[in-house]
Amino acid sequence: MKRIEGKYYFAERSESCSATLVLTEQGSIQIFNDADGALIQTSTLQECQQGPALPDLPIELFFTNQDRFTPNDVAVKWDHSFFSTFLQQLESKFIYVLIAILVLPVTMWLIFSQGVPAAAHATAPLVPTAVTDELGETTLKVMDYILDPSELTQEQQDRVLNHWRDTLAKTDLSETDYQVLFRNAGGTPNAFALADGTLVLFDELVVLLEEKPELITAILLHEAGHIEHRHNIELLIQSSIISVVYALLLGDMEGFAEIILGVGVSVGESAFSRRMEDEADVFALQQLRHAGLSPSLFGEALEEAFGDEERSGHHWEEYFSSHPDTQSRINQANSFEKEGAE
């Protein structure tokens, strides 16, 4: 038989008193008011519900009428079942906390750098073409708010398109899968691909590489690589998943922790983007070789278009960039060339 000191609280009101709970071996309970010794509750352990068990806090006992008893001693346990104190154990023993501190960053890294991209990669092919077509069209409409119509002459455009068609004819790719459009971007030489197979070239890029349409074709092949690998939709799925997962996992954290971990997530996001760029690069190089053209043409195109950019040797800057380092992409093109020659 045990005598346990504590407080007795009456349901739905603030009335309470100091009380002593008497527990027999068979589990029957009697509670006496300390002030006058009166019996205020009888029950059995079976009929009662336990409150949550938290480190250094007493475990409360709830009676069928919702009255409750709180022991003064936090060490009092009402039963010795594993589950009732399992979580409390996890939250108080140092070894579990140590595991938490060590496993936490690893798990986060796994989820954001492996799990999420894998999920996006797996679901991207499942998206129906009707959806990706719609996506491409909508994006073009939005982009056309920013971009101006092309100012190239018909002759300039035809020169690009002819070389493109000729090259495609020598590969397994079908010309009808792609639609090449020209736009004026007000200064930057660049190109991009849309989910529905549209390839957009900026006037500035065409003018820059005017003398060598084969370089433009190389770049178009890179963009076609993005379409082939369904990168646009994959990126969309990925960023959606990240937003959701981020909110679910870290939504309860406040302030600084959220920001620090957010930086980690965006570093991870840059890594995905670089991987996609790399896949598109390899696709372009393979198709160039297939069409009987020199893969190093792609390296040359990169050099011409982006060679003026700062080419520092600082590797850590790469972590924040969405494209791999230009020099390494050029190197890859050249080694592809050598491989083919062997």
Partner: protein, 347 residues
């Protein structure tokens, strides 16, 4: 003071390390279960903090049910996914969503406040929030907008009105809180915070600049720029927390000292600006050094400080209170509120 009244301190027995253990393990469990355990983690964290807070040897209670929070979260998640899907194909719809969101905000805020208060109890008597949609719309959307038109000069007054609105719609066992604050104090607090902010921003900016200049001698401009940005951002966080601390230490004292429940309770707060600033500074440094993992420790330290500097005077009426809240269902709002970041804390 009414006869028989007791002047009571607030005891906070959670330790920084004790709470860190609970919090860290719960974060891990949440992540490992891809967020499903989140509601249980949140409830347990709050149960721990509340359970270690006692007045007159009676512990504060938290009565939220995790399952209800989970359901609320799933609904909010559903809405979020619909938003992503629709705006991917029709970006114009984003404007519609923004519009709807603006008008949903007061409801979300009220749900969040109500959920937190209704699930908080002392001696089996729950708190409640009685604010209405349009009043919240006025105080949280219209007034701040109005202050914007006065170049924020009206802001301290708006904040005073917001505090008054929230506190005077809180009930305990059916009894309303009353708050008699003065705008002047809010202006004093805002001014002090602004001064600190400007002074420290100058320091932060110049230290960032210096750091950048010093590292530039190694012929690497990107590195210098990055160093400057990094130092600046860190300094900015510190400055933000410090100026917020000044504001809080002045206004919280004022609010607590003028808060009362008729015939039941009155409050006293004696936060010292210097010691609260020191606490905040050490907390921020802890956060930076541990990349945010010391968050629970900083929470525990802050609550201990606040508890140590607060007193409650209770009349014998406290023994006669009856719980008036029967409908404790407000989970949808709470989780939608935190998903869309409209959480508001009162303590």
């Amino acid at each position: 003071m009414t006869e028989g009244s007791k002047q009571l301190p607030i005891k906070f027995s959670a330790t920084p390390w004790g709470y860190s253990k609970v919090w860290l393990v719960n974060v891990l469990l949440t992540i490992v279960t891809l967020g499903i355990y989140g509601p249980w983690a949140k409830v347990r964290n709050t149960l721990y903090l509340y359970g270690h807070t006692s007045i007159d040897d009676h512990r504060l209670q938290f009565l939220a049910k995790p399952v209800k929070i989970l359901i609320g979260r799933l609904i909010a998640l559903g809405i979020f996914l619909v938003y992503i899907a629709i705006t991917s194909f029709a970006p114009e719809a984003g404007i519609l969503f923004a519009f709807v969101f603006v008008f949903a905000m007061p409801w979300l805020i009220n749900q969040g406040l109500r959920f937190n208060l209704v699930n908080t109890a002392y001696r089996n008597v729950r708190f409640d929030f009685k604010g209405s949609y349009w009043e919240t719309f006025l105080y949280f959307m219209l007034l701040p907008l109005a202050s914007l038109f006065t170049l924020y000069l009206l802001m301290p007054w708006v904040l005073k009105e917001m505090d008054k609105y929230i506190h005077e719609n809180i009930e305990y066992g059916g009894k309303r809180l009353e708050l008699n604050t003065r705008g002047a104090t809010y202006y004093k607090a805002a001014f002090a915070a602004a001064v600190v902010y400007i002074l420290f921003m100058i320091v932060a900016f110049s230290s960032g600049l210096m750091a950048g200049l010093m590292s530039q001698t190694n012929e690497s401009l990107p590195l210098a720029a990055a160093t400057m940005m990094f130092v600046f951002y860190v300094a900015m966080f510190v400055v933000f927390y410090l100026s917020q601390a000044i504001y809080v230490s002045i206004t919280r004292n004022h609010v607590m000292n003028n808060l009362e429940v008729e015939d039941l309770a009155s409050f006293e707060s004696n936060i010292k600006i210097s010691s609260y600033l020191t606490l905040t500074l050490t907390n921020v440094l802890l956060l930076v050094v541990t990349l945010g993992l010391a968050f629970p420790a900083t929470q525990a330290r802050k609550f201990k400080y606040l508890a140590d500097h607060t007193q409650i005077n209770l009349t014998p009426e406290i023994d006669n209170m009856v719980n008036k809240v029967t409908d404790a269902d407000a989970s949808i709002g709470e989780e939608a509120a935190s998903l869309f970041d409209t959480d508001i804390s009162i303590i």
